[in-house]
């Protein structure tokens, strides 16, 4: 590494932190506003006499907890189901590839290209007929299918890195396929499987199109709850900010924790 002049080093640090500040500012402002009282919140100022009033108000609304519970159940349900379907599939493709494996993988990816809006009408009508509108089960099904291709791809990428010899040895010792996957493969690829699950959780948690169109109240997750603040009577800035902060915080932490593996999963290993 070539030496840089001190002036240049300070300049780079300022630019770097400046860019980070600009990108993070709306979130910082949301956090600050959430700590203000409602009358203070409408005057833009940096001075805050912190109060947790708004958080208390938001959490006291029983329906907020119902929305949060929906978000947790639907995201976890969709993720667990997608993993359960994808682990066996990715295992087969990674360790017992056939001539068709490559085209199967590409075909799975191509189902992601079907835009949700293009199939909104039939899914809406099917769900209406099946009584799945505004039900958690309905959203769990949609989220599972929506994420399945990405989950298969990420797992495939991680499984490919395990040397076949290790699994071969287990097989020689008489391990059946189920035991081989459960006791050998999954422990070896735990970080990869975990980050795949995290990505699926993030995508489910933040999903807005299907949740806004397929749910109204009973099964609506936090995305829909937050969207309800866009109506005029919901314009309480401090409460809006507190609700948003609580909705975003867990998934932001998950995202930060898994950012490195996320890149690999999102680009299908095409960018190393």
């Amino acid at each position: 590494m070539a030496k840089r002049s001190p002036l240049k080093r300070v300049g780079i640090a300022l630019l770097g932190w400046g860019a980070a500040f600009v990108l993070f500012f709306p979130l910082l402002w949301m956090l600050l506003t959430s700590l203000k009282s409602e009358p203070e919140a409408v005057t833009p100022s940096l001075i805050v006499a912190p109060t947790l009033q708004s958080y208390g108000d938001v959490l006291a609304r029983a329906d907020y907890l119902a929305f949060a519970l929906n978000s947790v159940l639907i995201s976890v349900g969709g993720t667990v189901l997608a993993l359960a379907l994808a682990i066996p599939a990715a295992y087969v493709m990674a360790f017992h590839p056939t001539k068709r494996t490559r085209s199967t993988l590409l075909w799975m990816l191509s189902t992601k290209m079907l835009p949700s809006v293009g199939v909104l009408v039939p899914i809406y009508l099917l769900f209406r007929t099946l009584g799945l509108l505004d039900s958690r089960i309905g959203l769990i099904i949609v989220y599972t299918l929506m994420n399945l291709p990405i989950v298969v791809w990420m797992l495939f990428t991680f499984f490919k890195e395990v040397p076949n010899d290790i699994l071969e040895a287990g097989r020689m010792d008489g391990a059946r396929t189920g035991a081989e996957v459960w006791h050998l493969l999954l422990p070896l690829t735990l970080p990869g499987v975990a980050s795949t699950g995290l990505l699926s959780l993030i995508l489910c948690w933040n999903e807005a199109f299907w949740s806004l169109n397929l749910t109204s109240s009973a099964a609506a997750p936090l995305t829909a709850f937050i969207a309800s603040f866009s109506s005029p009577q919901g314009l309480f800035f401090a409460k809006l900010s507190a609700a948003s902060t609580v909705a975003v915080a867990p998934i932001l932490v998950f995202g930060w924790l898994s950012q490195r593996q996320l890149v690999r999963g999102l680009t299908f290993g095409a960018v190393k």
Binding site: G16, F24, M93, L105, S110, V121, L145, L240, G255, W256
Partner: protein, 296 residues
């Protein structure tokens, strides 16, 4: 040794069908059923509010769609939105990736702050920007403008599409940064060093070494973003609901409005078919890019 006949797995050939079958089956259903229904409905007269409207419509729904000025406005808005956000995020993402590749104190923490917007749910992103940033009276931008003695801008009334573009860019710039930074970090340092020895300036190094190295990552960013940007919905739903007029109605919002606000299933389905065709043109290039890199 004679010709090898044994596959890596010894004995009986492994039957993977029971393991891969469930995934393939559900994805097949998830793809085929709605697709066939969308195409079918697009040729039908079908209104949820009026059961007397039935029967084969031929290309009427399509004809109605393409003669509707809202459709062309929505197509233009869709392309403007996708195009602008792509340019902003790829150019900005590349510059930021190079910046965050330089060592400086606290770089890793700054990086986490910079990528944060990518993890924020679209409805929250839209509401923060609408109420806390761009609101002409209560927003930060308005306060800054007033402090500088300038008139505050009513963003969503005066520059509706630009406002949506800014919000969506804020969400996706961190994504581009995340991917491109990973690519920059895999750059061969000795090659850069050699170029520097040969007297290449910072700009020449960037143009002749860094950019070509990033080309694959950039194409991945462009393709993935395009897929998602073609169907931007929550940001518009929360901020402008497609308005004023049709200024921010994109194809996704148009289909939503046709289907769930006007209950015109036939018309919405025709729009859906157009959206699918548009996405598949993009997907064709994406799959080709990925396929070339795929090692099975």
């Amino acid at each position: 040794m004679s010709t090898p006949t044994t596959a890596p797995t010894k004995g009986r050939r492994f039957n993977g069908l029971p393991l891969i079958g469930p995934s393939v089956t559900v994805l097949l259903i998830w793809m085929i059923v709605p697709l066939v229904m969308t195409v079918w409905f697009s040729f039908q007269r079908y209104n949820l509010l009026d059961p007397t409207v039935t029967g084969f419509a031929g290309f009427d729904n399509y004809e109605f769609l393409v003669t509707d000025p809202d459709f062309w406005a929505s197509l233009t808005n869709t392309l403007l939105l996708v195009g602008s956000v792509l340019v902003i995020t790829v150019v900005g993402g590349t510059l930021l990736a190079v910046l965050f590749d330089q060592p400086f104190p606290g770089r890793d923490v700054a990086r986490l702050f910079a990528i944060a917007p990518f993890f924020v749910m679209p409805t929250v992103a839209a509401l923060i920007w609408k109420n806390l940033m761009m609101h002409p009276i209560y927003g930060v931008f308005g306060a800054v403008a007033r402090a500088l003695g300038l008139p505050a801008i009513d963003w969503f009334a005066d520059y509706p599409l630009l406002s949506v573009i800014l919000i969506v860019s804020w969400e996706w710039l961190p994504f581009a940064l995340l991917i491109l930074l990973t690519a920059v970090q895999s750059l061969d340092r000795e090659q850069l060093e050699a170029a520097r020895m040969d007297g290449a300036g910072a700009l020449a190094q960037f143009v002749y070494i860094v950019l070509p190295h990033l080309s694959r990552a950039i194409s991945v960013v462009v393709m993935i973003e395009t897929i998602f940007l073609l169907t931007v919905f929550a940001e518009i739903y929360v901020t402008t609901a497609g308005g004023p007029g049709n200024a921010t109605t994109n194809l996704a919002f148009l289909i939503y409005a046709r289907a769930l606000l006007q209950y015109d299933v036939g018309g919405a389905s025709a729009g859906g078919v157009v959206a699918i065709i548009l996405a598949n043109i993009v997907a064709f290039f994406l799959v080709r890019t990925i396929a070339r890199r795929l090692e099975v």
